[in-house]
Each structure stands twice: as structure tokens, then as C-alpha cells.
Amino acid sequence: MKNRKRFWGITKFVLLSIGAFVMLYPLLWMLSSSFKPIHLIFSDLSLWPSEFTLEHYKVGWAGLSGYTYTTFFKNSFILVGLSILGNIVACSLAAYAFARLDFSIKKVWFAIMLGSIMLPYHVVLIPQYILFNNLGWVDTFLPLVVPKFLATDAFFIFLMVQFIRGIPKELDNAARVDGCGPIAIFAKIIFPLMTPALVTTAIFTFIWTWNDFFSQFIYLSSPKIWTVTLALRSFLDAMGESLWGAMFAMSILSIVPIFIFFIIFQRLLIEGIATTGIK
């Protein structure tokens, strides 16, 4: 009996490991191909390059349309940084009001906020585009960043509301006795205590903004302000399929930041998904 159980345990472990390998194989293959000389990419099936070259990274990094990947990475990081800042500031302010303050027809506003989470982006896409176009914001970061400072990622408001509701109200009351108003209570008590929710928000804003293609694609057209995502896509168009090696090299680099993020915040990230159901 005990032996049989052990046998099953080992079988399961082996099967799960094979599964994990199959899952990761495409990524490993891309990683290894990015180091192989071009004539080996499609002929040498082994994951360990028999000949090793950094050429693809050099060729790829040189970029296109007169800009290198230094520019594209810088743009991506600026965009991500501003998005995180916007979401943290605007969503935490709104969340505090929904969780702790009293105001007219609060339930209606709360329902609208929840509804906006489920709303497909496409329903507001065209009028938003027309608006940003009239403001002269198309081909700048503004259409991508300003909405974050207006708390349009309502999902994070909801996440923070849930979190603030878990903070004991006695803390607010004690501060009120000490003469704090709502603003001071938010700044001195709630905001510092909601760090875990803020970290979750930052992590997911990072991943979503980094991976986002559609809105960047619509709003950013000049190579000068391309993000890594857009540069990769133009690369694919311009080079066709002749420069697979360089494309793989840059693709690998493009996922490195998320990957590092994942490794650092793995526990928080997985807990975040498990408790809130974000992707």
C-alpha cells in the first residue's frame, strides 16, 4: 500500500514535470534560437546551441527607423511608470471615498463604478479617439497616461475598496478624536496601511501596460515614442521573416522585465490572483 502510494506520487511528479516542460518548451526554444547562428535556428533542434552567437542581439538592438531599442525600452518604462503612479494616486483616492465617506446617491455611483469594470473598451474607443484627436494628443503618451490619473482602471478601485473595508474603523475613530479630518485620516492612516493593495495594483499595472498592444498601437505612431511592443511589431512588418534571429532576441529582451518582476513578486502576484481573481 505504502509502496503503491509512493509509486503514484513519483508518476505524478514525472508527468507534471513533462507537462511543465511542454508548456515552457516554446519559450526555451525562442531563448535558445536567439543565441544560434541563423543557419542553425531551423535545422538544429536541440535546446542547447551548438554554436553560440550574440549577433542577433546586436542586430536587433540597433532597432529601426533611426531609433535603437534604448529609446523603445525607455519609452516603455516611462509609460509604465506614469501608469502605475496614476493608478495608485487616483484609484486610492476614489477607493477611500467609496469605502469610508458618505455622499449623495453613493450606491448608484458605486454601481456605475462596478459596471465600468465589465464594460468592453470598444464602446468608448471611438469617441475617446475623436476627443484625444481634437485635443491634439494623438501620437503622444497623454491618451495612455491621463486616463490612469482619472481612475479609469476601475478594477483597482474595487480592489482597494475591498482592502480598506478590512481596515478596522477604530483606527479612523481614534484619529478623529485626535483631531484628524478625513484628509489627514487618509494620508496618515489608510494610505500607509493599504500598501499590499497598492503593491498588487502596481504589479498588475506594470504587466498590463507592458503587454498592452491595442491602445499603444492606436495612439503612438512616431518611432520616437514607440514602446518595445510597437517596435517589435514594426520589426515584424519591416523585416518580414528574414531576420527571425534578431526578432527572437528582441522578443526575449521584451519579456525580461515582466519575468524579473514575476520572480521578485511571485508570491504576492499569485496571492493577488487567488484572492481577487485578476488575470
Partner: protein, 295 residues
Amino acid sequence: MLLKLWHKNKIALLFLAPWFIGIIVLGIVPMIASLYLSFTNYNMFQAPTWVGLSNYQTMLFSDSRFIQSLKVTFIYVFVGVPLQLLMAFTLAYILNKGVKGLAGFRAIYYVPSLLGPSIAIAILWRQIFGTNGVFNDVVSIFGVQPNSWVSDPSTALFTLIVLLVWQFGSPMVIFLAGLKQIPEDLYESASIDGAGSLTKLFKITIPMLTPIIFFNVVMQIIGAFQAFTPAYIIGGERGGPLDSTLFYTLYLYIKAFTEFQMGYASAMAWMLLVIIATFTGLLFLSAKKWVFYGE
């Protein structure tokens, strides 16, 4: 009266100001505007002209590409999502039974969900399922003829579904968390009654997990209806071979930003909202029948 209203709300207004501006200027007003535009012809350069229901009529009765995009999207959603969730559930179930290195497996299986939406993976996918791709090398072992899976109209959509299923990690993590919530004593008393593991699976695990299954189904369906990047990069920006990967959102994009038929695209956006709302609504209605909330 007004003054009283102001006094009651001024502090909240201070905190809510950014969100208020956002929800009105970027949410409610654009929604109404796109509803209005959906009844017009509008190309962004001339003023919109009212055409009544004509956009909706064209869409449903005479635009074969629209019908094609619906078909493609429905297959993607209703084949891809169930497969993805089945995979997620199975893996979560196995992992939850206790296995060495659970945290490691969980992390590895999650990685595709993390990277899946990126352009890098879309590019990789195009290669894997291309003529020289790794997929051909693998299936040739089983005697399958090599093919360019991404450019063959009968298989292109299949490569996108594989990409969706590959990203089963995030629903799996949610399932795992749900499985951990099921009280151990339920299983213990079932064992005493002589229940085998299959009985336990169907009589305890699945019923107890229905709220999570429901949540995952709703979220994944809403997400899958709006998928764009894989179709655009892997299938191709015009809808792939013979429009076989013309996702709804891709066709909407083509109408709005390459043909500048903003009125028609707005009508499509509203139709998408109606479709998603209908399916979510049906799911919520059906939930009473199969979702089990507490004792």
C-alpha cells in the same frame, strides 16, 4: 438646499474628483456618443449624417465579413474557453492532491498567462506554427504531413485556440485557491461512507467549486470576446487567410481605423456590448440552477 448638498459632499468630491471626471468625460459621455454615432455615417473628417438603423441592418443582413467575424469569434470563445478551463481545473485538481514542488509547478504553469498576451509570444507563435516551425517537427514524429498551420485557412484559428488554452495558468491559480477552501471534513465523512475518489470529485469537489467555476467562465468569456493581439499578429492584420482569423475586434479596428467608417464601427462596438451582456446575463440566470452558494 444646494448649499446643504455641497456641505454634505464637498469632502467626498475632493477625493472622487479624478474618478468623476474620468467616468463622465471618458466613460459615460463617450458611451452616449458612440451610441449616437452608431446611427450615423461618420468618417472623422465630415460631420456625421444620420442614417437610422442602417448600420445595424447592414451588419446583420448584408455584411458577410461581419458574419464571418462573429463565427470566428464564437468558435474561439466557445471552444477555446471551455478547453482552457478544463485544463486549468484538471491541473489544479492534480496539484491540490499534494505533490512535491507545488509552488514550483504553480509558478511554471502560470508563466504562459503572464507572457501570453505580449507581442513577443504572438511572434513566437507565428513561427512555431509556420512552415519551418517546431510544431511541424513534433507532429512529423506522428506521421502528420508538414503544413503552414498559420496560413492554412482551415487550421489558422486552431493555432489561436492553442495559444488561449496554453494560458490556463491564471484560472488554474484561482481554482487552486478555491480547492483549498473546501473543508477537509467533507471528504473525511464521505470516506467513512465509503465514497471513492470519483464520487468525491463529482459530489463534493465540483459542487463546492461551482462559484469559482462560474467566476472563471464569466471572466474568461468576457476577455476572449475582446481578444485582438493574437488575431492581428498571428493571423494577420487583414483577418488572416480567407478571413479565418477575423476576430470581432479586429474587424471593428479595420472598419474604424483603416476604412474610417466610425459610425459602422460604433454600431459594432454596441453590438459587442449587447452580445457580451447577453451571454453574461444568461450565465447569471443559469447560475441559480447550477452554482452552489454555501449550505
